[in-house]
């Protein structure tokens, strides 16, 4: 049904426009037409929300009628209440802050190293020969497989979580930075040299901007991995953070709090993705592909 609507809309608009130019002579019925178009636009905006709202309503209904045990899934209203309770007591904020701190700390350490090493191996052949094959070998070890070793090294405190996150975000950023630098158009580099750019100017004005779209792809991959690893790390062992909140709630069968935790992870993940996309639309605003997407959004 949605697809039929989507096909129909443009043709309606074309007719509407044609009508309008005719109305420049006639000047009648324009108000009614405008109202109809506004209504259509509003309908188009609301349509995607129809299904989620219906699902939540059905869920609430099932819980209220007792078809759905609160041990399996708490009612949506209860989840909202739990979220409100936790927010009001300030508990929620404390845990979110700790979890976000871990995630961003790990990203800063691992991403920083990934970026630096990627720039180095991408730009200097000698470093590629020296480092790249080693890094490619280590890359094949899944970060989560390191957990037993990490617990032995760091115990179960903060540094273990930071280490796991840093290790896992390192590789996407490293790889994409390396390839970004390598794929900069050599013709542009030659042009820059022949126009008298110094080595540093060439790097700052040609090579780095040329690699930027690739580096940002690496960042988006890393952000996705960052939350997954954080969740695993916090679920295994933690005295604070969103993972602690949910695991603690599980012991007391507070499914509503567990659900709040899950939704929080989703929300933070979405925020991180929005942030990465904002970076892309700003840094790549020259790029026709990204301009088109900005316009469509």
């Amino acid at each position: 049904m949605g697809s039929i609507g989507a096909v129909r809309e443009p043709s309606r608009e074309i007719f509407g426009r044609g009508d309008r130019s005719a109305a420049a002579i006639g000047q009648r019925g324009q108000g009614a037409r405008l109202a109809r178009r506004l209504l259509l636009a509003a309908g188009r905006g609301l349509l995607p929300w129809l299904l989620p709202v219906a699902l939540i309503a059905a869920w609430q209904l099932a819980s209220s009628l007792g078809w759905l045990s609160s041990r399996v899934l708490p009612a949506p209203v209860d989840v909202v209440r739990a979220a409100w309770r936790l927010t009001a007591s300030g508990e929620l904020w404390v845990h979110v802050k700790i979890s976000a701190g871990r995630a961003l700390g790990g990203l800063a350490i691992g991403g920083g190293f990934g970026l630096a090493l990627g720039l180095l191996t991408g730009s200097v052949r000698a470093f590629e020969t020296l480092l790249d094959s080693t890094i490619q070998m280590v890359r094949n070890i899944p970060a989560l497989a390191l957990i037993p070793l990490v617990i032995l090294w760091f115990g179960i405190d903060e540094s273990a979580k930071l280490f796991l996150i840093a290790v896992s975000v390192f590789f996407p950023i490293y790889l994409n930075t390396f390839h970004g630098i390598r794929n900069v158009d050599p013709q542009l580099i030659e042009m820059g040299r022949s126009y008298g750019l110094s080595r540093w100017q060439l790097y700052a004005q040609v090579i780095l901007p040329g690699a930027m779209s690739s580096i940002l792809v690496g960042l988006r991959f890393s952000l996705g991995l960052m939350w997954v690893i954080l969740i695993v790390a916090e679920t295994i062992s933690a005295q604070s953070g969103i993972g602690y909140l949910t695991m603690n709630a599980r012991e007391f069968l507070q499914t509503d709090v567990v659900l709040v935790g899950i939704l929080l992870y989703a929300l933070l993940g979405k925020l991180a993705d929005l942030f990465a996309r904002a970076l892309e639309t700003w840094w790549l605003r020259w790029h026709p592909g990204y301009q088109a997407r900005t316009k469509a959004a």
């Binding site: 126009y195 008298g196 930027m212």
Partner: protein, 275 residues
């Protein structure tokens, strides 16, 4: 490398360019052999030749982008041994940095004070109103005009043009011929244009130089008054004569030595060489 000042003294004109026995080989392949030319200050030289005849290599040697295998080029008697500030090059592709706006592309490698000058040059190529656009929004001809402005803003005394109009449509080409000619007359730099379009050569050149198999095969002065009209009978006659000369060679006289695989290869390719 020193930053060039934004004002070049008035009256200083193009360079005198000399090639002294220049040769270039890539491994076994001799691309350019014993080339000797003298180009006077302010002259407009067009080099024509088939694909792979060594004309682009010659330009890259003059630009200092590559090193000659033997012999050397001299500007005003000074040896060219690398990139140099007197010379700017326009490539076959515009090679604009897509992440810099038009004006910032023109100002590449120049200090911020050169902004006014950049705008002036953009106006000279007719793109003053596009100064703040992204290159992706320009047409192919407009991009080459930006590239031309980027070269001229440095006050080059020698401008090298490596088939810069090759990818443009016929009408845009004619427009670009007029533009390049008028800017050359205004700035009086020495110009060295490589092309495979004989009509373009006759339209722009003081001297047309034909390169065949890495050697200069023809050096002809075009004495038609400027601006030249392509419909002109004399224009057409010169164009036909040079074109015949370019086309005539493979059948007429190419008799490569049996032990020279390169020439053998070149002869085979002759059939599908495009002009």
């Amino acid at each position: 490398m020193k930053v060039q000042s934004t004002e070049r003294p008035q009256g200083e004109r193009g360079v005198r360019l000399q090639a002294r026995d220049v040769g270039k080989r890539y491994g076994e392949r001799q691309v350019l052999a014993d080339t000797r030319i003298t180009i006077e200050p302010g002259e407009f030289i067009v080099i024509v030749g088939r694909s792979g005849c060594g004309k682009s290599t010659l330009l890259r040697l003059v630009a200092g982008l590559e090193q000659a295998s033997h012999g050397a080029f001299y500007t005003d008697g000074r040896l060219i041994d690398g990139l140099h500030d007197d010379t700017r090059m326009m490539f076959q592709e515009a090679r604009l940095l897509p992440w810099r706006r038009v004006l910032d592309n023109v100002l590449l490698g120049l200090p911020a004070e050169a902004r006014e000058r950049g705008l002036q040059v953009l106006a000279q190529v007719g793109l003053a109103d596009r100064a703040n656009d992204w290159p992706a929004r320009l047409s192919g001809g407009q991009r080459q005009r930006v590239a031309l402005a980027r070269a001229l803003v440095h006050f080059p005394r020698l401008l090298l043009l490596d088939e810069p109009l090759g990818a443009l449509d016929a009408l845009t080409r004619i427009e670009m011929h007029r533009l390049i000619e008028s800017l050359w007359e205004r700035h009086r730099f020495t110009a060295l244009l490589v092309t495979h379009d004989v009509q373009e050569a006759v339209a722009l050149a003081d001297r047309v130089i034909l390169i065949e198999d890495g050697r200069i095969a023809l050096d002809e002065r075009i004495k038609l008054p400027r601006p030249r009209s392509q419909g002109d009978a004399e224009f057409a006659a010169i164009e036909k004569r040079i074109l015949d000369r370019v086309l005539g060679k493979p059948e007429a006289q190419a008799l490569p030595a049996a032990n020279d695989p390169l020439l053998e290869d070149a002869r085979l390719q002759g059939l599908r060489w495009a002009l």
